[in-house]
Point group: C2
Chain length 204, copies 2
Amino acid sequence: MSGDADGTARRRGRPPRTESGDTRDRILVTAREEFSERGYEKTSVRGIAKAAGVDPALVHHYFGTKEQVFAAAIEVAFAPAMDAPEAIADGPLDGVGERLTRFIFGVWENPATRTPLLAILRSAVNNEAAAAVFRRLIAAQLLRRVAAQLNSPDAELRVELAAAQLVGCAMLRYVIKVEPLASADPEQLVARLAPVVQGHLTGP
Amino acid sequence: MSGDADGTARRRGRPPRTESGDTRDRILVTAREEFSERGYEKTSVRGIAKAAGVDPALVHHYFGTKEQVFAAAIEVAFAPAMDAPEAIADGPLDGVGERLTRFIFGVWENPATRTPLLAILRSAVNNEAAAAVFRRLIAAQLLRRVAAQLNSPDAELRVELAAAQLVGCAMLRYVIKVEPLASADPEQLVARLAPVVQGHLTGP
């Protein structure tokens, strides 16, 4: 560790500036793993700190409360997805349903994004603080940004009902694993769901 | 208590035959409350027995394992709803979407059925044994019975995608509480969702 190697005396758990970015990232990655494995309620700042090999005070220093650590961990997991709304809304409006549907299936079919998504869903279903984070990040940032492109007076409700179709499909397919939905070919599902999503977004 | 009043000596928690129906019902009601309040994982047969004032062995005697108690508690909570599939599928096929949508909203808007439904959803999202119960009861009994009326080769997938729209709406409205969906007028939602559900069930 550079902090030990250069022999600088420092407060326990407070690294020198040069490695603070690395430490912050390591805490975030660890937090994401802990929340994914244990869910929101069973994860503690102390546990994250222990798994990341840092002092709990450092976790608080960088992120604040457990709720704020959770929000930061979600934001990191979904940083690539956060650029999606513009890409989804870009292009011809009559293809926005298919673009949104394919994007959501892409996130769920990829194990790297499915795991944190499952963790968020499980946490949000069981804990009000986690639900609030979900509302703020996913709803406000993702859905609102898609809604902004629609130019409809009830754009937000439209996007939410479209999201409801896709969230419900994810619930039954990936979480509850109801057959035949759980084993259905993703392309078959996209073919069925894209027009529904399109109808919610731009239909009468 | 009749057992104490008539002074009959009996093994602890094992009631005389005449009151066994009452005791079984009391265990079931208590189990439903315990699962609703604590969720599947945090509920124990011992806890249910204690809250019902009976010996844990009696709970096992009547229902078997914790998973079987959970299944029985869900079945009781949804006994009225289990008659619904025929009623929903009855009548003109072009109104089945609205009947199913109104039925689901009826269940969710009524606090007496919303509470056990939330408990089942929370449990199923977090625990594989609870998810299996959900699959067997809700999926197999409710969805299959609607599908049986449709006379379509992919009727089961159709019903599941329709259910996905309604499950997702329930998730975002009642669990995550995303606005404006959470505060939207139920009639407005039925008007938007019934045609979508209809399309899944009987559309091209």
